[in-house]
């Protein structure tokens, strides 16, 4: 049957054409196309991988931020507490100090008052004494011009002393 008889011309031309086309396409078409496709695929894979990496990094960063924030919050609370304590302490110390100072001043004042009072009293006593002595001297000089009056007086004094 004619259909099954291969023509020599077509066999040869086909073989030559196929080989030529194969080498042309291999060099100028398949190689760059497959290379570009490969590049694109690795590019996409890389992009996805780096996106995942970035996502993970972001999540990590967020976590870190939260931790930092938490720490900052705690730090702030602690600082406020400490400051409060410090302030309280300072106030109480100041109060304490003021009180003690006040007490000291009051004590000093009392002491000074007492001393001055005592001094004043002594002074008064002394002056009174010297006045008394002066008066007494004057009285005595006048009264004790005679001997009997002296004796009477001495006697009287003696009695008075006893009463005291």
């Amino acid at each position: 049957m004619e259909l099954l008889q291969p023509g020599l011309g077509l066999l040869v031309w086909n073989f030559v054409a196929f080989i030529v086309v194969f080498f042309i396409l291999k060099a100028f078409a398949w190689k760059p196309i497959l290379k570009s496709l490969q590049e694109r695929e690795t590019g996409i894979a890389d992009a996805i991988a780096s996106a995942d990496k970035a996502k993970a990094e972001m999540a990590q960063l967020k976590n870190e931020n939260e931790v930092l924030l938490q720490q900052a919050r705690e730090e702030r609370a602690r600082m406020i507490k400490e400051a409060k304590e410090q302030a309280d302490k300072m106030v109480s110390e100041a109060k304490e100090k003021a009180r003690s100072e006040y007490d000291r001043i009051v004590a000093d004042a009392q002491l000074a008052i007492t001393q001055q009072k005592n001094a004043a009293l002594t002074d008064v006593k002394n002056q009174v004494g010297s006045l008394v002595i002066e008066v007494a001297e004057k009285v005595l000089r006048k009264e004790l011009a005679d001997k009997s009056a002296q004796e009477v007086y001495i006697k009287k004094l003696a009695e008075e002393v006893k009463l005291n």
């Binding site: 099954l4 023509g7 020599l8 031309w13 073989f15 042309i24 570009s36 695929e41």
Partner: protein, 367 residues
């Protein structure tokens, strides 16, 4: 949805148009051959097998139609070599469609034979016909288009790099290339696929473009020619043989795991198996493409057979046969892709069979 319907309608209309414009060639083909035997105006008998054969076999010219004495043809170069007479090159138009001898050669039923001075065949002269037949010319035309398109696409990849989205024709070709690479190459050949990709892609697109060009009415049935599928199968055979390893041959000459008499029995079976694989490749592509063309042509010829009985019957039945032919035509477009895929895929399968077990052992060796 609407767009889809419009598209299908356009395809159908275009197919119908192509079929109808190629119909005059059927109308006048058969008488064209026997114009010498019949007088003009004599009743025309249609010989379906002759018409079909003329359309699906190779020829020395592109023959579109014949109207009376006018032959619408494109003559092609004839290149002949015979040890006795040497090389002779001339255009096929010199034969005047088989009516005249030229340079001592004559066209007899599509074959060129050497003739003596008086016109009788000369058996003593051996003729080797290297003519650029219509299959050769159409194949080269298709391949030039393929090379131009693919290098253009490759140029786009080179210019844009791999990072940019494909566009235009590149976008159309890329999924096909990816399909061949992923579904044919990677699936069958595993890690070694890269080495075979240029061959698989070339075979795929070679068959595909020739299948599609063969579907154009009036064109040659390139892939439905046993010489062409034979050459492709031969090249695939060479690629398969060069991919074999020790394990493959060990399997063929001394089948493992069976008694010695069975080993001896298996030897011729396995040896034959080496050759049946490419043979199957050759026959499968050839038979599929021929069958499709024969069916379409048969439906068209039925119109003329009915028309010869009664012109009303011919016209009346034509829509049915046209519809059937269009249906087969659309299937043939599908088959053009499927057969290209099957040839490429089976080649990849056979290549993988040639080296797969060796790989297996190698892997075990490495572990």
């Amino acid at each position: 949805m609407v767009l889809k319907h419009v598209k299908s309608l356009l395809v159908a209309a275009f197919g119908l148009f192509l079929l109808t414009i190629s119909m005059p060639s059927f109308a006048s083909d058969a008488p064209g051959h026997e114009a010498g035997a019949h007088e003009a105006g004599a009743p025309k008998a249609i010989n379906p097998s002759e018409v079909i054969m003329e359309h699906i076999t190779d020829g020395h010219e592109f023959h579109f139609f014949t109207l009376g004495d006018f032959h619408a043809t494109i003559p092609l170069p004839v290149i002949l070599y015979s040890p006795e007479r040497g090389l002779s090159v001339f255009m096929s138009s010199a034969f005047h469609h088989g009516h005249e001898a030229h340079n001592g050669y004559k066209l007899e039923h599509g074959h060129i034979v050497a003739v003596k001075e008086d016109g009788t065949p000369d058996e003593a002269v051996h003729v080797y016909d290297f003519s650029m037949t219509r299959n050769v010319v159409q194949m080269i035309l298709a391949l030039v288009i393929l090379v131009v398109l693919m290098t253009k696409v490759a140029g786009k990849y080179k210019a844009q790099g791999g990072k940019q989205a494909p566009s235009g024709f590149q976008n159309m070709v890329e999924p096909v290339i990816l399909f061949v690479r992923d579904e044919v190459g990677k699936t069958n050949l595993g890690k070694k696929y890269e080495k075979y990709m240029p061959y698989l892609l070339t075979v795929f697109f070679f068959i595909l473009i020739n299948n599609l060009f063969g579907l154009i009415p009036g064109s040659a049935n390139v892939t439905g020619n046993i010489a062409l599928t034979g050459v492709l199968a031969l090249i695939s055979f060479v690629v398969i043989i060069f991919s074999t390893n020790k394990h493959f041959w060990g399997h063929i000459f001394w089948f493992p795991g069976v008694p010695v008499p069975v080993k001896l029995l298996m030897l011729p079976v396995e040896l034959m198996g080496i050759f049946t694989k490419p043979f199957a490749l050759m026959i499968r592509l050839f038979a599929n493409m021929v069958a499709g063309h024969v069916i379409i042509l048969s439906f068209i010829i039925l119109i003329f057979i009915f028309g010869a009985m009664n012109s009303a019957l011919g016209f009346g039945s034509s829509p049915i046969f046209i519809a059937l032919a269009v249906f087969i035509y659309l299937i043939e477009v599908l088959v053009a892709f499927i057969q290209a895929y099957i040839f490429t895929n089976l080649t990849a399968v056979f290549i993988s069979q040639a080296f797969e077990h060796g790989d297996h052992h190698d892997e075990h060796g490495h572990h």
